[in-house]
């Protein structure tokens, strides 16, 4: 930009520089071209500051994580965006809800697509969160120091299930009505508080307008708020627990020479009234910078590109599914006649199959035991070995028990899906 006339008015110059100055006031750094600027990305950008400046190479291996945790998060983001859009047209009323579903199909621009995306993302989130849980277990990543983050993760899995359950009631079709009926009845089997819980959930003694409103509030306000908070804690703990888990041999031991050169802050014996510097807070006895072999790479661009890739794959998959398959909508509610057989979505069919043997054991007892076992896993399985490797031989017993539970549930889901016909009688699908 070289104006032809040399004398410039200061005002004109200010005006000419205005776009540049606005831009620089928002983005304080240029696109990184050296390591210093690459470090600055995580320090100066609000959206990137959750990331470490450098990330371990092992954490970037696609076959270690399969990006499942990120996918869960991105699906949650898609669900929030599509969910908020759907809220513009939805009314939680027993007389209007179903018509609004038909409106979404018939008159609302992109209505069908948005509902499809919301539905398939929800199904996807249940599946991916579960696979993520499997990944973390089968790589032994719940072990010390990540015990608490595993607990948060299990809670997130349960919240995901509650979200999906409260969600599929909202269209107020046959599935919705009978799912609330059965779901709240299962809650009623819980010891001591069961009947009160059932009454609170239904807002009365039978399933109707009050129940729909309650599940709507849970679905669009209460549960998303809790879920968001728990996700924040989950992410924060990843950083504080030292990044993703990795095997011991991912970092070669520092040589003796390096150990001698290392500075050991005298923080190991806590004295009263001592003023601690930041080094006293750093875990481990040595200042490691420059002393140990470095197996990390800069997050910019390595981690960020991987995340972008995962996001694009996730969104594309949901878009393709939503363009190909329409979200089902059953008949409008008929409180007099349940469909026969009345089946829950696939991920609850294992539960439904179990409930068909015993309401208490199938709906309350066994799931509670399973959840308690999951929560307690890192506190029962204290062996330090086998962290950071899929199906490690050191963890044969724990992995076998876990896989047995998973396979049992999958078998129940398959029986519920394919082998149950009218009146929940056993049928063969062929």
């Amino acid at each position: 930009m070289s104006p032809a006339t040399p004398p410039k008015s200061p005002f004109l110059a200010t005006l000419m520089d205005l776009p540049k100055n606005v831009w620089r006031s928002i983005f304080r750094n240029p696109l990184p071209s050296n390591d210093l600027e690459r470090s600055a990305t995580s320090f100066t950008n609000f959206f990137l500051h959750i990331h470490p400046v450098k990330v371990h190479k092992h954490s970037l291996r696609p076959t270690y994580t399969f990006g499942l945790g990120l996918m869960s998060f991105f699906l949650f983001v898609i669900l929030i965006v599509t969910g908020i859009l759907l809220m513009f047209y939805y009314v939680p009323s027993t007389t209007q809800a179903y018509d609004r579903m038909l409106d979404l199909r018939g008159t609302v621009a992109f209505g069908t697509l948005l509902r499809n995306m919301h539905r398939w993302s929800a199904h996807g989130m249940v599946a991916v969160v579960f696979l993520h849980l499997c990944r973390v277990f089968l790589t032994g990543s719940y072990k010390k120091p990540r015990e608490f983050n595993w607990v948060v993760g299990v809670i997130l899995f349960l919240l995901t299930l509650f979200m999906s359950f409260t969600g599929y009631l909202l269209p107020w079709d046959q599935l919705a009505f009978w799912a609330i009926t059965v779901g709240t009845a299962i809650a009623g089997y819980a010891p001591i508080v069961g009947k009160d819980m059932q009454f609170l959930l239904m807002g009365g003694t039978s399933v109707g307008q009050e129940a729909l409103l309650r599940f709507y509030v849970l679905h669009v306000a209460v549960l998303p708020a809790i879920l968001t908070l728990m996700i924040a804690i989950h992410f924060w703990r990843i950083r504080k627990d030292g990044g993703l888990s990795r095997p011991d041999d991912a970092d070669p031991k520092p040589s003796l020479e390096a150990m001698e050169n290392a500075v050991a802050p005298k923080a190991s014996v806590p004295e009263p009234k001592k003023v601690y510097g930041f080094q006293g807070l750093v875990r481990g006895p040595l200042t490691k910078v420059g002393q140990v072999p470095d197996n990390t790479v800069f997050s910019w661009p390595n981690l960020f590109l991987a995340e972008l890739f995962t996001f694009v794959v996730t969104l594309s998959a949901i878009l393709v599914l939503s363009l190909l398959f329409n979200a089902p909508l059953e008949e409008p509610v008929n409180a007099l006649h349940p469909p026969n057989p009345a089946k829950a979505p696939w991920y609850f069919l294992g539960l439904q199959e179990m409930v068909s043997y015993s309401a208490f054991w199938g709906g309350i007892g066994v799931p509670t035991i399973f959840v308690l076992l999951l929560l307690a896993a890192p506190y029962l399985d204290r062996g330090p070995k086998g962290v950071g490797k899929w199906f490690s031989r050191d963890r044969l017993l724990a992995n076998t028990i876990f896989i047995t539970f998973v396979v049992a549930n999958i078998i129940f889901v398959i029986i519920g899906t394919f082998f149950r016909g009218a009146n929940w009688a056993f049928v063969t699908p062929w």
């Binding site: 009926t181 059965v182 299962i186 009050e210 007099l336 469909p339 057989p341 439904q352 043997y357």
Partner: protein, 163 residues
């Protein structure tokens, strides 16, 4: 933190002072935790409805002549099945005792489409996960000659209203 420092440096002369401070600390903590607990409980008090809206539990289902002998009429909107055998009449619930689905009439009695509970003609469990037989409701003949069913009053299965 401050309390700890004080305690570690303080001697016996400070004992009374420290324990008073500790007690105040305890009281403050108990007050805060108690308030939080009460707030949480009051939320549940708030969302627990005091009045509920629903169908009346006591209703008329028509004249005895509407149900000739041998009738097994499911009144879906009322959630009951009226049985008439000769001069005897009864009302059996059609709400499954398992998880609250509506059972349908089957050849052998009642069958539930949700989890496969099966009941015989009198509502006794013959299969599936149902923990209890289908309840029987009190049936009376009102002065105007109509049959009145009260779903709030369960009676012993097998006890009929004799017309």
């Amino acid at each position: 933190m401050a309390v700890n420092l004080k305690r570690s440096s303080g001697g016996d002369s400070d004992k009374g002072k420290t324990s008073r401070r500790r007690m105040l600390g305890w009281l403050t903590g108990a007050g805060l935790v108690g308030s939080a607990g009460l707030s949480a409980v009051s939320n549940f008090v708030f969302i627990r409805p005091r009045a509920t809206y629903g169908q009346p539990q006591r209703f008329s289902v028509g004249k005895p002549e509407d149900y000739p002998s041998g009738t097994r009429a499911v009144l879906a909107s009322r959630g009951i099945c009226i049985i008439r055998e000769g001069a005897r009449l009864a009302a059996i619930s059609t709400t499954c005792t398992h998880l609250g689905c509506t059972v349908g009439a089957a050849d052998t009695g009642f069958a539930c489409p949700c989890h496969g509970s099966r009941f015989d003609q009198d509502g006794n469990v013959t299969g599936g996960p149902a923990p209890r037989p289908l309840p029987w409701f009190q049936v009376t003949l009102a002065p105007n000659g109509e049959i009145e069913v009260d779903k709030d009053i369960e009676i012993t299965p097998g006890s009929y209203l004799t017309l």
